[in-house]
Each structure stands twice: as C-alpha cells, then as structure tokens.
C-alpha cells in the first residue's frame, strides 16, 4: 500500500483547521433551529421596523459562536497510546476520553459540502455501548484519517485473528469490488418510485411543527383562522379547490421525494471490501458506511408497489447494536436489480445463499386475515350506524371505499406473509402492496418467544418471535405444532452452533 504521507499519531494532534468552520456551522445550525420559531413570529406580527435593532443580538450571538468554535478547536486533541485512542476536549469543562481499539465497532467516513471544499473527512467511530457513545472527529486530513482508521482496524484484526479461526483468508483486506453503482437514469427511477406518501407525511409534520411552535409563542392560529373562516368555507365547499389542493400536495410530495433521493443516493455505490460491505452515496453530504459480515444480523430486501413495477429493489443490512436497529446502524442501498441482490446475498450468506431461495415457504393461518376482517368490519358497522343516524351519506360512501381498501390490504398482507426455516437460514416474507423479505442466519438468533392469546389458543395457534441483535422477526398465527417444531429446531441450531453471532 502506498502512503502519501505518514503522521506521528502518538503525539497530541489537532484536527484540520477546517474543523473550526465545521464546529461553527454545527453550532449556528443548532442556534438557528432554536430561534426559527421566534423569527417566524416576528415576521408574522410585522414588528420588523427599519431601525435594525434585531441585528445587534444576531451579531453578538454570531461573534460568541465563532469565538467558541475557535476555542473548541484549539482545545481538542487526539492521540494514540498503545491500543487506545485518547481525546482531550472541552472549552469550559475539560474532559478526556479513552477509547480502547477493541471497543471500536466500525469507522465510517463522511463528507459534506464544507468537507469537500477543504478535502477533509469526518470520522465517525461506533463503540460497543449505548447510543451517544459514538466518537466523532469533525475534520481530518484525508491521509491522516485513512492512516488512523487503518491503524485501528489493523489492531482489531490482529486481536481477532488469534481468537477467530473461521476467518476466511483468501480475500485481501484492501481489495474493493464494486457490486453495484447507481447511474443517473436509475437514480431518477429510484426517485420516481419513492414512497411519496411518506414524503407527503413530511409536509404534514412540518406544518404541525410550525403550528406547534407558533402556539408556544402565543400566536393563536385558531383565532386568526376564524377571521378568515367564511372565506375558507366557501373555498372548501367548491370541489375544484379540493382537487387543486390534492394535486398541489402531490406535486410537492413528489418534488420532496425527488430532492431527497438525489441528495441521499446520488452516485450510490456498493462495494465488497474484505469481509464486509461499503455503501457510498450522497450529493452534498458524501456518506460512507461500512458493515462487517459478522455484524450484519438481518438482510432485508424490499420493493414497494412502484419499485416492483420498475423492477428495482432496496437492500438493508441490519447491524447489531445495543440501541436496536436504529437508522444509523442499518445500511441501505437502493435501486438494485435482482442480480445485484443475489450477489450481495451470496457474499453474505456464503454457501448458504442458495438455501434461502430453495426453502419451501409456508403461509400463516387464516385467523391472521379473520382478525383483521373482524376489526375493520366492526369499525365499519359502528361508523355506518353513526353516519346513517347523522344523515351523512356522502361521508359513508367515502368510508365504505376506505373499508374495501382496508379489506383488500388485509387480504394482500395475509397472502404475502410467508415464512420458512432451513438448516442454516430463516426467512420471513411480508408485504401489503409491496413486498419484503428478511433473511437471518439461524445462529444469529438470540432468543425465541412463543406467545398465545386466548383467541389463538382456541384455534390451536401461536405467534413466534425470533429476537436478534438487530430487531425481531415475528411469525404470527401459525399452527402450534409448527410453532413448536420451528422453535425446537432453531434452538437446536443455535445451541449446537459454534459460529460466533458477531
């Protein structure tokens, strides 16, 4: 391996000067976020006179923030000592952090726009511990960062080697093989097939957030709204406006998903590196996330309805973490073809990957559907009585339409809920309009729960929950006999396995 420049990391070292800017940026962002509602109020109430008094506090805050960032930078040192990374920091309260290398789970690089301008990287280190235990070095020279991560990973590896015999020695550590790259055309495909309803949800949440903040500051929107109510009523009554609003909402939702997709997944590349996967993506913030094979507990591939029409898949590596399957620990790759999926699966599951396809999938009991039909129908009967009583037939028609949609969705969920276990792998399929598939290696199961409600017991059914270090796989409403034989078999597999689950 060529090294452009070697750094002495045993000496206390500061970060790159770009860190000042980044600390400042983070600080300002927090301040602005806190003050945003106030700013909205001031604008709304039109109290912004021309004297410019409001500039002084802003300037003061900005100057203090800048001074703080510079101080924070000069007081932040890190260095290596034996097998430990030591960080000294703190402006008012000084603190020293000691992180033994073997506690570091993974080292991730990240670059946002500022990082790119100064060609530095941010280093995220996950430690085995609760969330908030992560260590971040805001800005490091690229060479220094790779030297540091190399040193840490090397040291972990040499320690692990002596314990771990199952390590496959054929692949060199540094070789990177691209499994998948997302082209611009595919990126658009990904954007178009995003879950737009979720994006719409973001708008709604944003409106609620603004609403909430305004109320906190004493602006009574309802009171204000009432002044405009007669006008609004007239507007809402006209169907055309409603349609326009719906279209507008859809366009905004669509635009948000497109922008989000481009920001998050621009130039997405998935690599196989050593005994793990690396996913790099992002337009402004370039994210590099890595997942080691042994840390990946659940492999989840999924398609929503639009994605299944376009024939693309989403792939998530769910990694073990103490804070169960939080977003940060799941590594997502999107826009994959079926072949890409196969390849990733083949790498991860090695010789067992064919098994996941040859398994004979079983469906769940009819009770799964019956339960849902029962809920929805009772709700519908109650609503019908209510609407007929209040003479609101048009609302009744709408709710009947929604009811049939719910029934259809329940039926699809019932049809698509399928499970199977084999000698090395457990697989769970699910979906409503889309579909998903989760695969877990048997020896990665942590414990097994068996549950029975009184209603299930009458029908001789059970629910099985397989708990792993990155979430639960629930197999609902299956025959008790099946549940027990599955549990017995999987327990036998876990207990007789000599493989490390992580």
């Amino acid at each position: 391996m060529k090294k452009s420049k070697s750094f002495d990391l045993s000496q206390p070292t500061r970060q790159s000067y770009a860190a000042i800017l980044i600390i400042m940026y983070r600080l300002y962002r927090v301040i602005i976020r806190q003050l945003l509602p106030v700013a909205v109020i001031i604008l709304l109430q039109g109290k912004l006179d021309k004297s410019g008094w409001f500039l002084y506090p802003i300037i003061t805050i900005a100057v203090i923030g800048a001074a703080y960032s510079i101080l924070a930078f000069f007081r932040y040192y890190f260095y290596l000592e034996k097998d430990k990374l030591i960080v000294k920091k703190g402006v008012l309260k000084r603190s020293t952090l000691e992180i033994p290398f073997d506690r570091i789970q993974s080292v991730n690089f990240e670059q946002n726009l500022i990082h790119r301008l100064f060609s530095v990287v941010k280093l995220n280190m996950d430690t085995a511990g609760s969330t908030g235990n992560e260590l971040q070095l805001y800005a490091l020279n690229r060479d220094m960062a790779s030297q540091l991560s190399e040193l840490i990973l090397q040291s972990i590896k040499s320690k692990k080697k002596s314990l771990d015999i199952s390590e496959n020695k054929t692949t060199p550590v540094d070789s990177r093989k691209q499994i998948f790259g997302l082209s611009i055309g595919q990126l658009l495909k990904v954007g178009i097939t995003e879950n737009h309803i979720r994006s719409g949800g973001i708008i709604v949440f944003f409106l609620f957030y603004i609403w909430d903040s305004l109320e906190d500051f004493g602006v009574d929107l309802i009171e204000k709204g009432e002044q405009y109510m007669p006008v609004a009523q007239q507007l809402v009554q006209s169907m055309a406006i409603v349609i326009v609003l719906v279209i507008l909402f859809s366009i905004i939702a669509f635009t948000i998903s497109m922008v989000r997709t481009v920001l998050n997944y621009y130039d997405l590349k998935m690599y196989r590196k050593g005994h793990g996967f690396v996913v790099v993506s992002g337009l402004l913030n370039k994210n590099e996330r890595a997942a080691k094979d042994e840390k990946v507990q659940i492999l989840k591939s999924s398609q929503n309805l639009l994605q299944s029409w376009a024939g693309i898949y989403e792939l998530v590596f769910k990694q073990a973490s103490s804070a169960q399957a939080s977003e940060a620990k799941s590594i997502k790759s999107i826009g994959l073809s079926k072949e890409n999926l196969f390849e990733a699966e083949a790498y991860l599951l090695k010789k067992n990957h064919n098994e996941s396809r040859s398994l004979k999938m079983k469906g769940v009991d009819f009770y799964f559907l019956y339960k849902r039909l029962f809920y929805w129908t009772s709700l519908m009967i109650a609503l019908t009585i209510f609407f007929v009583y209040n003479n609101k037939i048009d609302t009744l028609v709408i709710s009947l339409l929604l009811y049939s949609l719910a029934i259809y969705a329940s039926y699809l969920a019932y049809k698509k809920k399928r499970y199977a276990w084999g000698s090395n792998i457990f697989r769970l399929d699910a979906g409503v309009f889309g579909r998903s598939r989760q695969v877990v290696e048997n020896h990665k199961i942590q414990n097994i729960h068996l549950k029975e409600t009184p209603f299930q017991r009458r029908r001789g059914l059970s629910t099985v929950e397989l708990h792993t270090a990155s979430g639960v796989l629930t197999v609902p409403d299956i025959k008790r006999h099946d549940a027990y034989s599955m549990k017995n078999y999987l327990l036998y597999k876990v207990e007789s396995s000599k493989k490390k689950w992580m």
Partner: protein, 175 residues
C-alpha cells in the same frame, strides 16, 4: 468451519420444549404481587372516595354508576387474574438453555440459549427482601424487550442459577 455434520434430523427426535417439567416459582411471590395490586387498588379507592366526600364537581349519575362499576370490576379482576395466572409462572433449566413461561390468558414463553447470554443480574426490591425473595435477570443481545426476568426465587436459588449459567457460558466461550 462447521464441526456439525448431522444436518438432516427428524424434528421428532429433537429435544422438545413442550415435554419439559417446569419448576414453579415460590408461593411467597404471590403475596408480593397481591400487595402491589392492593396498593394500586387502595389508591384508586382513595381517589374515588375523595370525590364522593368532597364532590368538587358534579357528574351525571349514569357516568357515576358506570365509573363505579368499572372500578369494582377492575379491582375484582386484578385479584382474580393475578391469582389465576400465578401458577403459570414457572421456569425450566435445561442443559443448554433456560425457559421462562408466564401468563394465564395471554401466554408467553421465552427461551434463551446459554451461548447467547450476555450477562446475568440478581435484583432484590424492598418488599422482596422482607419475603426473602429475589429476581434473576438474564440479558441477551436481543434487545431489552427480550430479556428474561424470573421473579420469586430464593436468593440462594438465584445465585446458584446464575453460577450455573455463567459456568455454561464460560465453557461455551472456551470451545
């Protein structure tokens, strides 16, 4: 590197969870449970009686009757279900795992293999100390919702169980 070769196994020959003889937990624990329930019921009763004594605000009589009915059903049910479900709390220790089951109407059974146990903890609350009881908590990496808590064990018993499981996990790591 799999040292296991007998992959094809008839599932009938496998050790069966359903044939196990479960060990019930100590009867004294029921007293603790009943004490806790009584405490919450007393609080409920105090709040209700406070209303009838002071009448801070008026309520329609139908609402009052339904509140009273619901409250008395709740109180009766809490005792009945606790007593009914108590015999279902039991555990079983096997060579390679520990099982804890509970629940009368809503049944629940957890099995934790020893080779997945992260750590074990023995807890003793104030009331438990009075009755000479303790709780054994078994943690795996499966997340907080999946940890096993076995209540109503004599402290010696908890300690023995803990030692047994720790020895098993240590043995497992050596291999």
């Amino acid at each position: 590197m799999s040292s296991f070769s007998n992959e094809q196994l008839n599932s009938i020959d496998l050790p069966r969870v359903e044939d196990i003889c479960f060990v019930p937990i100590e009867k004294d624990y029921l007293k603790i449970l009943l004490l806790y329930i009584s405490l919450s019921n007393i609080i409920l009763t105090v709040i209700l009686s406070a209303y009838f004594i002071f009448k801070p605000f008026a309520l329609p009589s139908t609402a009052l009757y339904s509140i009273l009915t619901i409250a008395s059903i709740r109180i009766a049910w809490s005792y009945y279900s606790t007593v009914k479900s108590f015999p279902h709390k039991a555990f079983a220790l096997r060579e390679k795992d520990i099982i804890y089951k509970s629940g009368w109407l809503w049944r629940h059974m957890v099995t934790a293999p020893f080779n997945r146990v992260q750590h074990i903890q023995i807890d003793q609350g104030v009331l438990e100390r009075q009755f000479n009881l303790s709780k054994l908590k078994i943690f795996t990496a499966g997340g907080s919702s999946s940890d096993i808590t076995i209540p109503g064990l004599r402290p010696e018993q908890s300690a023995r169980l803990k030692q047994f499981i720790v020895a098993k996990t240590a043995l497992d790591e050596e291999e």
